[in-house]
Symmetry: C2
Subunit: 276 residues, 2 copies
C-alpha cells in the first residue's frame, strides 16, 4: 500500500526534516522512519513534500511511503502517534494511488512566517515567531510582498539545488508565487468579551506573512521575510525591494530571518489525488 | 530601593514559581534570585504575586525585591534579561514605595486557561493548551462560569493554605470572583485576507477561560476548568455544576485540568501604587 500522511511538528529541537548523519542531531524524517520500522518490522524510506530547515515548524507537511504491512490508514495514524515523540504528530493518513509521491506529486507549498514586534523578550511567543524590537509598517510590507506575485527569477533570495544545471530559457531559480500576503494577526474572542483582556504593557503587534509557490528555493521564505522586514522598518523602499528582485543578485542588505518564525502550513496536489 | 518587575515565563521546564529544594527541579523564583545575586553581589529574596504550579506559564507575574545596588529600574531589566534563561523575561521594572509587596499588596490576580478541541495531537498548540478530543459547548460553559461570579466558598475547587485556621464567619476557602468568562478564541488577519488560511483538516476550536479573583485557592483554576469541561461536554448540567459549588465538597467528578493550559496574565494593585 502507498500511504500518505499529514504531519505536524515543532521543529525547535530537530536538525530539519531531512535525514542526515546522526552526529548532526535528530531529524523529523529519521524519527518517522524509526517509528515506521518499529511498526512494520522493516526499514522504510519516506518522502516529504518540503525539506524544512533546522528549527522550522510544520502544521501541514505531507509524507508518503510504500508498505506491505497490513494496517489501515487509521491504524497507521494511531500506531505512529503512539510511537512518535510528542514534538511530531500524524494529523491524518490516507491510502493513495501507487504513483503518488509526497514531494514529486506536489503542485504547490504554502508557508507562513510570524514576526513579533516587541521591544522586550517574550518567552511565551518567541518559540514560534521572530521577535524584532521595532515597529513594522504592515501595509508597505504587503505592497512589497505582492510585487513578488507571479513568475520571477528569485536568485536574489535563495539558491536552487539544481544551480549547476540549465533548465533552458528559464533559469533554475525561477519560481511562481501564487500567494504573497502580509497581515497584522489579531486574536479576538467570539462573542467579543465585555471585559477586554488586560495586557499591562500594551499589546505587541504580531505580523504574519503567507507565501504559496509551485516550489521554493532553499532559504527563500526566510530571505524574503528578512528583506521585507527592512522595508517595514523604513530602511528599504518598495522600489528598492523590487530592484533587488530584478537584479537577481544575493548581494543586498536583507539577511535570512530566523527559523523559529517559519511554518510549512500546506501542500497542494492535483485534484482527486488526495483529500484530508 | 524597592523594585517591582513584570515577569513572563514559559513554565514547561520549571517546577513552579516558588523556590524549593534543588532536587525538585529548577524554579522561576530560584532562577530570578540567582540572576539578582550575580548582579547585586548579595543573596536577595524576591516575592511573587502568584505561586504558579509546576508547568504553569505567566505573561504578567509580578515580583518585588529590596536592593541596595545602584541600578535604575531599566538597568535592572536589561541586566536580568541578559542573565535569565530564555524561558524567563523581565517585561518591565519600576521603583516602588517601600511598603509595596508583590504578593501582599496585590488586590486581584487574573488567569487565562486555554483548551484546544482537537481529536489529534497538535505539537504546535499543545505547549500552551489542554487538548481534549471532543467538542465543547462554549455558551453553556460560559453560563456555568458566570454563576461563579461574586463571593463564594470555593472549597469544592481547591484548598486554602490556611485550611486549619478559622477566619471567623467566612470560611478560609471563601474567595471573590470578579471575572469568569469563556469564549471561543479566533485569530484573524487585519485586513481580512482575500485567501483564507488553509487548514487541511479543518480548524480546531480553541476555547479560552478567563478568571480574575481577589485570590485563588491552590489548584482552583485548574479544578474549575476541569469541571467546566464536563459541563461543556454535556456530562454535567449547569445546575449540577452550581450544586457542586454549593456543596463545598471536593468529592465530585471534576478533575484538575493540566498545568500547560494555565497562564497568570495580570495582577492588580491599589491605584497609584504601580503602573507599567
Amino acid at each position: 500500500m502507498n500511504v500518505a500522511a499529514l504531519v505536524a511538528y515543532d521543529g525547535t529541537a530537530f536538525a530539519g526534516f531531512q535525514r542526515q548523519s546522526p552526529d548532526k542531531g535528530p531529524t523529523v524524517q529519521g524519527a518517522i522512519e524509526q517509528a515506521i520500522q518499529r511498526i512494520a518490522g522493516v526499514a522504510t524510506t519516506i518522502e516529504g513534500a518540503g525539506r524544512t530547515d533546522s528549527g522550522v515548524h510544520a502544521s501541514g507537511q505531507v509524507i508518503s511511503f510504500q508498505t506491505s504491512a497490513r494496517l489501515t490508514p487509521p491504524d497507521w495514524q494511531r500506531a505512529l502517534n503512539a510511537l512518535l515523540p510528542r514534538e511530531i504528530a500524524v494529523r491524518a493518513a490516507r491510502a493513495v494511488d501507487d504513483g503518488f509521491r509526497a514531494r514529486h506529486s506536489a503542485l504547490a507549498r504554502g508557508y507562513r512566517y510570524r514576526v513579533l514586534c516587541d521591544a522586550t523578550r517574550d518567552p511565551l511567543r518567541e518559540r514560534y515567531a521572530w521577535r524584532v524590537s521595532h515597529w513594522l509598517d504592515v501595509p508597505v510590507m504587503r505592497e512589497a510582498a505582492r510585487s513578488l506575485l507571479g513568475e520571477h527569477d528569485f536568485a536574489a533570495f535563495g539558491s536552487s539545488p539544481h544551480d549547476r544545471r540549465d533548465d533552458g530559457f528559464r533559469g533554475p531559480t525561477v519560481r511562481t508565487l501564487l500567494i504573497a500576503e502580509c497581515d497584522q494577526r489579531i486574536t479576538c474572542a467570539s462573542p467579543p468579551a465585555a471585559e477586554p483582556a488586560v495586557d499591562p504593557v500594551g499589546e505587541a503587534v504580531e505580523v504574519e506573512f503567507r507565501f504559496t509557490a509551485n516550489a521554493f528555493l532553499s532559504g527563500m521564505v526566510r530571505r524574503l521575510v528578512g528583506t521585507l522586514a527592512l522595508v517595514g522598518a523604513g530602511k528599504l523602499t518598495v522600489a528598492h525591494f523590487q530592484a533587488i528582485l530584478a537584479a537577481r543578485d544575493k548581494a543586498h542588505p536583507g539577511a535570512a530571518a530566523p527559523a523559529c518564525g517559519l511554518c510549512l502550513t500546506h501542500v497542494a496536489y492535483p485534484p482527486g489525488s488526495i483529500t484530508w
